[in-house]
């Protein structure tokens, strides 16, 4: 629907989006060039973009990007490995779920960043600590969505499979898991964004090993060109955009059959 509309609209959907971005950059450029704000605080957009471009091909900077991505990927993988099995277990038994609800409700509100100082004391400032914190924070949405997905399982779907003589393990493998998969994936998608937030937060607070946050702290002092700080933010935004974009594209590809996504086709 929206595709067809976009194709016939005057500038088109993509075109309008580009116009919006260009207008934003242009405005930022004018505001600084005209001297309305101090360039020491807000450098011209063109020089921020130029700096971003240079950083993206600078191996010394890319080491920091790789550091952030390593903690992000390992933490997310650990979270999935822990939260999906637990979620399947909690989701499939009402009694287990009820019993664990109180514990989950108490643990969930603890802001994960508050654990950073403690984690530094217990695990040091290395990769272990980063991965542990990223995993802790990103496990929650995966856990909740897995429980939800298992709970949403249609009893009639199970009856149908059983009526044709499918055994318990086959029902789990062929019916329960596929039907919960889109929910689990949604949890992973939310967790991917949270994992990036945590990875950067940990770097900002703990410093040490290479990472975008570490790099930004080092480049926020007096005398460092302001462009670098802005460029660092642009890169972290692009990273977030790329992660979310890939996750959404994967969702559309894998789960086109899910009613929730189907309506968007």
């Amino acid at each position: 629907m929206s595709l067809a509309l976009g194709a016939t609209d005057a500038p088109g959907r993509v075109g309008r989006g580009l116009i919006g971005v260009a207008a934003f950059i242009g405005l930022a450029e004018v505001v600084t060039r005209a001297g309305i704000v101090n360039p020491a605080y807000l450098p011209p957009a063109s020089s921020v973009l130029g700096t971003t471009g240079r950083l993206l091909v600078d191996p010394a900077f890319l080491v920091h990007v790789a550091g952030t991505l390593a903690a992000w990927a390992m933490g997310l993988a650990a979270a999935a490995a822990i939260a999906i099995p637990i979620g399947l277990l909690l989701g499939s038994s009402r009694r287990v779920r009820d019993a664990s609800a109180a514990a989950v409700e108490l643990l969930r509100p603890i802001p994960s960043v508050a654990l950073i100082p403690l984690a530094i004391l217990l695990l040091g400032r290395g990769l272990d600590m980063r991965v542990a914190l990223v995993a802790y924070a990103s496990a929650w949405p995966i856990l909740f969505n897995t429980i939800y997905g298992v709970r949403e399982l249609d009893p009639l779907a199970i009856d149908t499979a059983r009526a044709f003589g499918l055994g318990r393990s086959e029902v789990i493998r062929r019916i329960a898991l596929p039907s919960a998969a889109p929910f689990i994936y949604t949890g992973l998608r939310v967790a991917a964004s949270i994992a990036l937030i945590l990875a950067v937060s940990v770097e900002l607070i703990a410093g040490g090993a290479p990472g975008i946050g570490t790099w930004m702290l080092a480049n926020s002092g007096a005398g460092v060109p302001r462009e670098l700080l802005y460029a660092g933010i642009v890169v972290s935004g692009l990273l977030g955009l790329a992660i979310n974009g890939l996750m959404v594209a994967g969702e559309r590809r894998l789960f086109a059959w899910a009613p929730r996504l189907r309506s968007r086709l």
Partner: protein
């Protein structure tokens, strides 16, 4: 524009009070036993010790309320309310116009993809290390889920509902206040829930940096002087605050969205 309405099961339904209390007591006992076995009171303090510290240093200590808890709480609430007001206002504007959505969509998608803590060094450079920086930080980071969910919710109001309103000659303001916003209500509240937990995270982060007061400041002090017992107590305290805020928001939501609960129930 995709929003981050996180599907969350209502964890509390069906659980008896007795069972839940038993689980909480069980967790506390388990912590106590593990700590006893670890026998390392500095790094792995017992639950009873942490709870006692939480009680004497925070809950039963008016000075801590005034000097630490209050500065944190007001910055949190000020930033979050700013996020609520601006998020709902801008989200509604964007949601009402398909054309506006087309123009700002990529920009919004980019801005909300920036991990909020990455803005911290910049906010410090721009606004210093005072309350203003922290409130702005919290507000900026927490506004996105509200904005996106509001825009999504407003944009997807059943056309039939708007047409009904037009048939009966409602004015634009009435349509907005009585049709569009209530219809978008569930989505907006989903955004509010996510944004509240982001606000708590940003409150803590902003206080872990260059600060002279607040709960986060106490936490980083405890870490620097290796006072594990205090660090654990503060983490429990933050959990309690988060739990309390979620509970209050849940009560407000139940009141405001009472119609929707009834509607979905009658569909079953």
């Amino acid at each position: 524009m995709t929003a981050v309405a996180r599907a969350q099961p209502n964890a509390s339904d069906g659980a008896g009070i007795g069972l839940r209390l038993a689980v909480i007591v069980g967790l506390a006992v388990a912590w106590e036993l593990v700590a006893l076995l670890a026998n390392d009171p500095v790094y792995w303090p017992r639950f009873s010790a942490v709870a006692a510290r939480l009680w004497e240093a925070w809950l039963a200590n008016p000075a801590a309320w005034v000097e630490s808890a209050w500065p944190s709480t007001w910055r949190l609430l000020a930033g979050w309310i700013g996020a609520v007001v601006s998020g709902i206002a801008i989200g509604t504007l964007i949601g009402l116009s398909a054309s506006a959505r087309a123009y700002v969509n990529p920009l919004v998608e980019f801005l909300r993809s920036i991990p909020p803590p990455a803005l911290l060094p910049l906010f410090i450079v721009l606004l210093g290390i005072g309350d203003g920086m922290k409130v702005a930080m919290i507000g900026f980071g927490a506004a996105w889920p509200i904005l996106l969910n509001t825009a999504d919710g407003v944009a997807s109001v059943e056309p039939m509902r708007r047409e009904t309103a037009r048939v009966y000659g409602l004015t634009g303001r009435d349509v907005l206040a009585r049709i569009v916003l209530p219809s978008a209500g569930p989505r907006i509240f989903a955004g509010l829930r996510v944004s509240l937990s982001i606000a708590v995270i940003l409150m803590v982060i902003s206080e872990l940096f260059a600060t002279v007061d607040g709960i986060g400041f106490e936490l980083i002090q405890a870490q620097r002087s290796f006072r594990m017992l205090d660090a654990w107590a503060i983490i429990l305290l933050l959990g309690l605050i988060g739990y309390a805020l979620n509970t209050v928001l849940g009560l407000v939501e139940r009141r405001v969205l009472a119609w929707q609960l009834g509607a979905t129930r009658s569909e079953r």
